[in-house]
Symmetry: C6
Subunit: 71 residues, 6 copies
């Protein structure tokens, strides 16, 4: 698997959300939604920390439909 | 990840919509629709600014079904 | 992104429909259908002109399920 | 796009159905089904001739779920 | 298309089921299920022989969700 | 098929869950969920051992939507 291309605007936007601990809403392909804070991203997964959770959940990047900040 | 091939008609059409701030409707694979103005595109995401929003939402290119201008 | 391989029968069939302005029906993965005339194809999108529309809609090739002529 | 690898059992099975004009049932990812006779296959599409149709419909290979003969 | 990598545990598990004619349950992406015995696998398809059928059905590997033995 | 890149945080997180026999919940693209303990992962599949089962079920990596620990 390739490394993330950090010159891509989408990857950079998510890095900003990760550093700023911005609350985001992730909409999955099946229409369901998860709110939380991004911990990290790699080429295969986004790690999203849900409110009050210690460990993030892993979301398959390909299962993503829309991601937005909740600011 | 590869760079966008700006010689492709689809990529060029979206660049036109971006430059002209054309209102577009994005239909996702789950059938849901989002209206807004495209801010930018990269190989993985489209950035769509919804009405009255400051930051665009990121739409996974693979989650796209149909995109059309609202002109 | 690679160029279309115009030696493939599927690509050639769509080129025929484009040149002959054949009315086609596109069925998407979510089961919804769109009728129109193909304007162009590239490796990522089909451009389908719906009746009475000036600009074609862009359909992600991967979001396609079935395409048929309406002749 | 690559050429079909005719050493693969799946590709070879479909070539047999094509040559023998075997009636097949194609089940798509959305659960819908189409019955017909395969005209040809390439890396992107299957061409399926429905009963009484002159031209085959093109089915995106990736939109396929199950294919079986109706013998 | 590449050849199957028979050093992968998943590919090896399916080879075991094929050789032992183990009854398996295949769950597809749309949630539907098929029970049978695996005849062969290649990089694109699984061939599943349903009870009392002479020919296996071909299941697109990408359309698979879960596979388990029924032992 | 490539080997797993064990430098990726997602792959490493799952290796931790495998070694610690952590109970996890896997949510599939169709919204259904499976709870169990991960036995192994490769580039194509996750092997999930359901409660009281001897053999793990194989989950196509691409069919995954979300995975989380149940701790």
């Amino acid at each position: 698997m390739a490394q993330l291309d950090t010159s891509l605007p989408g990857v950079r936007q998510m890095q900003k959300w990760i550093r700023a601990k911005t609350a985001v809403r992730v909409q999955l392909r099946d229409g369901s939604k998860l709110d939380g804070v991004l911990d990290w991203q790699d080429v295969e997964f986004l790690a999203l920390r849900l409110p009050n959770d210690v460990e993030p959940v892993l979301i398959l990047r390909q299962a993503l439909s829309v991601i937005r900040s909740l600011n």
